[in-house]
C-alpha cells in the first residue's frame, strides 16, 4: 500500500502544481511588463524568447496535428466522416459523444445471487443484488462495439505477461547484479545484443512460430501468447533491472548478513524493496509489450480472443472506414498509456541511463 500511497501523493502534487501554474505564469508576466516599463529589462530580452516560444509552440502543434485531428473526428460522433462534408476544420461544428458511447457500451455491475447455507440445518439464505446500470448505451446508439471484450482479452494477456515475466526477470536480474557465476559476462553481452535486434529477429521467426503454434494446437490461446510475450521481454528488462540494482549500495546487504540474515531474506527484504522504482519501470514496460503487440497477436488469435490492437485494426481493414468510431476506439485504447507515460516520464528518463553510452 505504501507504493500506492506515494503514487497518490505524487499525483496530488502534480495536480496542485498544474493548478498553481497559471497564477504563477501571470505573476511572471506582470513582473516582466513592469520591468520593461521601468527599463530594468530590455524589450529585446523579452521579445526573443516570446517569439521563439510561440514559434516552437506552433511547430509542435503542427507536429502533433494527426493526434489532434483524430480527437476532433471522434468528438463529432459516430457517423463522422471525412468524405461527405467539409468537416476537417480545426474546430468541429458539432459535438457528440455518440462514438465514445459506441466504444464503451453499457456500463454496469452485473446482478448476482449469493446462496449461504447455515451448517447442520436446512436453512438457506439467498442474497440477491440487481444489475446496477451506470450507462445504458441503447439510449444513445443502435449498436455497441466489441471494445469491452477486446479490453478483457488484452487485460488478461497483459496481467499474465507481467506475472510470468517478473518471475523470470527479477531473480535473473538479482543474480546478474549481485552474484558471480560462470558465463555471466557472456550472457549479459548476449542479452544487450538481443535488446537491440530481438524485435527484428522475432518477426523473422514468425513463419516458424506460426507453424509451431499451429502444429501443436496452441494458436488462439491467450496464455500461450502471454508466455511468448514474457519470454520476449526477458533480455531488455533483465538488463534494465540489473542496471538499476547495481545502483543500490552493497553495504545494506552486508549489514544484514552480519546480523545473520539468510541470502533469501537479504534479497527479499532488502534488495527488492530498494529496487522498487526499477521494478515499477519494468512492470510498465512489460505490461505495455502485451498491451500493444499487434503482429503476432493478429496472426494467431481468432476473433473471440482478439486483443485491442487487433480489434482496432479490424475496424480499418475495410473499404469504408467508420472514422468517427475508429477515432473514438483508438483514443479510448491509447489514452491510458499516454497518462501512464506522462506520469512515469521522469522515472523512465532517469531509469534509462543507457549505461556506457554517454561521453
Amino acid at each position: 500500500m505504501t507504493m500506492f500511497e506515494s503514487i497518490r501523493r505524487k499525483l496530488a502534487g502534480d495536480v496542485r502544481t498544474a493548478i498553481d501554474k497559471p497564477a504563477e505564469f501571470r505573476a511572471d508576466v506582470e513582473y516582466t511588463i513592469q520591468g520593461v516599463r521601468r527599463g530594468t529589462i530590455s524589450p529585446r530580452d523579452v521579445l526573443i524568447p516570446a517569439v521563439s516560444t510561440l514559434a516552437t509552440l506552433a511547430f509542435v502543434f503542427v507536429l502533433l496535428l494527426p493526434i489532434y485531428w483524430v480527437l476532433m473526428i471522434a468528438l463529432q460522433g459516430e457517423g463522422a466522416t471525412l468524405y461527405s462534408t467539409d468537416s476537417a476544420g480545426l474546430i468541429p461544428e458539432q459535438f457528440s459523444l455518440d462514438a465514445f458511447v459506441w466504444v464503451v457500451g453499457d456500463l454496469y455491475i452485473p446482478g448476482a445471487i449469493f446462496r449461504i447455507a447455515v451448517p447442520f440445518t436446512d436453512i438457506v439464505y439467498y442474497f440477491e443484488w440487481p444489475r446496477i446500470v451506470f450507462l445504458d448505451a441503447s439510449n444513445y446508439v443502435d449498436s455497441t462495439s466489441d471494445f469491452p471484450r477486446y479490453f478483457w482479452n488484452s487485460l488478461f494477456i497483459g496481467v499474465a505477461t507481467v506475472v510470468i515475466a517478473m518471475s523470470l526477470i527479477v531473480p535473473a536480474a538479482y543474480a546478474f547484479s549481485r552474484r558471480e557465476f560462470a558465463g555471466r559476462m557472456k550472457l549479459l553481452y548476449g542479452y544487450i545484443l538481443f535488446t537491440q535486434i530481438g524485435g527484428g529477429l522475432g518477426i523473422a521467426a514468425l513463419i516458424a512460430l506460426y507453424t509451431i503454434f499451429s502444429s501443436t494446437g496452441l494458436t488462439n490461446n491467450k496464455l500461450v501468447l502471454a508466455v511468448y510475450y514474457a519470454a520476449m521481454a526477458v533480455p531488455f528488462n533483465t538488463w534494465l533491472l540489473k542496471t538499476y540494482m547495481d545502483s543500490i549500495p552493497v553495504s545494506y546487504e552486508e549489514a544484514a548478513i552480519m546480523d545473520g540474515a539468510s541470502p533469501f531474506r537479504v534479497a527479499w527484504e532488502i534488495v527488492l524493496p530498494l529496487a522498487k522504482p526499477g521494478l515499477a519501470t519494468i512492470f510498465i514496460f512489460i505490461f505495455l509489450t502485451g498491451w500493444m503487440e499487434f503482429i503476432v497477436a493478429q496472426l494467431v488469435l481468432r476473433p473471440e480472443n482478439y486483443t485491442l490492437p487487433v480489434g482496432l485494426f479490424s475496424l480499418v481493414d475495410t473499404y469504408t472506414v467508420p472514422w468517427g468510431r475508429f477515432s473514438a476506439f483508438a483514443l479510448v485504447y491509447a489514452s491510458p498509456i499516454v497518462f501512464v507515460y506522462m506520469f512515469a516520464q521522469r522515472y523512465i528518463e532517469s531509469g534509462l541511463s543507457f549505461g556506457g553510452v554517454s561521453g
Partner: protein
C-alpha cells in the same frame, strides 16, 4: 564438481528466463532454417508427419527436403532484389531523416530562447507512448486519397491537386518515410536531449568568447560531444527501420503492386498470402543474415556494449 555447482548456484536464477527466451526465439529461428530447406506449405506442413526425434516430436509435417532450391529461387528472383534494394533505401533515407529531425527538435527544446521546455518535452514525446498500430492507422487516414484527407488538404492549400498517395510508387514510399520519421523522433529526441545536457557549458561559453558563430559552435563543440549517443541511437533506429513491417502492411500491403514490399513484409506475404512457407523462410533467413552482419559490425565498430559489468 560439487564445488563448481556451489560456486555457480546463482546461475539457477538466470536459467529459467534464458530457457523461455531460447524456446521462443532460438528454437523458432532454427525451425525457420529447417523450413527454408523444405517445400513447406500449409497443405503439407500441418499434416502429421513422422514422430519421435527425427520428426521433432511431431512438429514435422510431410514436407519434403529440397536442399538449396528455395535459396536459388529467391536469389534469382528480381522481386527479392527489388525488395532488398527498397529496404536498404528505406533504411538509409529514414535514418538520415530521423537523426536530422531528432537533432533539430532536441536543439529546439533545449534552446535558451524557448520557455517552458520541460512541458514541451513531455508533449512532443507523446507519439512514443502511442501504440504503433494506432499511429500507423492514423497516418493511413492522413494520407487518405479523399479530398478531405489531411495530407490532401495540405497539398491543396499549397496549390496542388489532390493525390492518391498509395497508388504511386515513390509517393507511397515517401509516406512510409514520413510516418517512420514521426514514429521514431521521440526516441531520438530523448537520447539527444540527454546528450545535449551533458555538453559542458564552459566549452560553449569559451567558444562564444573566442567569437565562434552558432554554426561553428555547433560543429566544433556540440557535435563532437554528442556524437556517440546519437550514433548509438542511429544504429538502433536503423535496425528498427530494416525490420519495419507495420507501415507498408497497414498502408497498402507494400503496394502499388509489390513495388514497396520491405523485406520482412515480402517474406511474410510469400508465406501467408501465397502459401509458400519454405520460400518465405528462406527470405526471412536472408534478411536475418543481412541484419546480423549489420548489427555485429555496428556493435563492434560502435562499441555498443561497452561499459557493461
Amino acid at each position: 564438481m560439487q564445488e563448481w555447482i556451489s560456486d555457480n548456484s546463482a546461475l539457477l536464477l538466470v536459467l529459467p528466463g534464458l530457457f523461455f527466451f531460447s524456446l521462443f526465439m532460438f528454437f523458432p529461428l532454427l525451425f525457420t532454417i529447417y523450413l527454408s530447406f523444405t517445400d513447406a506449405e500449409p497443405a503439407t506442413v500441418f499434416q502429421d508427419g513422422p514422430g519421435g526425434l527425427t520428426g521433432f516430436f511431431g512438429l514435422r509435417g510431410v514436407e519434403n527436403f529440397v536442399g538449396l532450391e528455395n535459396y536459388v529461387a529467391v536469389l534469382s528472383d528480381p522481386a527479392f532484389w527489388n525488395s532488398l534494394g527498397i529496404t536498404w533505401l528505406f533504411v538509409a533515407v529514414s535514418v538520415t531523416l530521423k537523426v536530422a529531425f531528432g537533432l533539430f527538435l532536441a536543439m529546439l527544446v533545449t534552446s535558451d530562447r524557448v520557455r517552458g521546455k520541460r512541458y514541451l518535452r513531455s508533449i512532443i514525446i507523446i507519439p512514443w507512448a502511442l501504440p504503433p498500430i494506432f499511429t500507423i492507422t492514423i497516418w493511413k487516414g492522413v494520407f487518405s486519397s479523399a479530398r478531405f484527407g489531411l495530407a490532401n488538404q495540405a497539398v491543396m492549400a499549397l496549390g496542388y491537386g489532390t493525390q492518391s498517395w498509395f497508388n504511386d510508387r515513390w509517393l507511397a514510399f515517401g509516406t512510409y518515410l514520413l510516418t517512420e520519421m514521426w514514429l521514431a523522433y521521440p526516441f531520438m529526441v530523448i537520447i539527444t536531449v540527454s546528450a545535449l545536457q551533458a555538453v559542458p557549458d564552459d566549452l560553449l561559453d569559451a567558444a562564444k568568447v573566442d567569437g565562434a558563430g552558432f554554426v561553428h559552435r555547433f560543429l566544433n563543440v556540440t557535435v563532437p560531444s554528442i556524437k556517440r549517443p546519437v550514433m548509438f541511437a542511429a544504429i538502433l533506429t536503423a535496425a528498427a527501420s530494416f525490420t519495419q513491417f507495420l507501415i507498408p502492411y497497414v498502408f497498402n500491403r507494400g503496394g502499388p503492386g509489390r513495388a514497396n514490399e520491405l523485406i520482412i513484409l515480402y517474406g511474410y506475404r510469400e508465406a501467408f498470402t501465397f502459401d509458400a512457407y519454405g520460400a518465405g523462410a528462406a527470405i526471412m533467413m536472408t534478411a536475418v543474415v543481412f541484419i546480423g552482419i549489420f548489427m555485429l559490425a555496428a556493435v563492434w565498430k560502435g562499441q555498443l556494449a561497452e561499459g557493461v559489468n
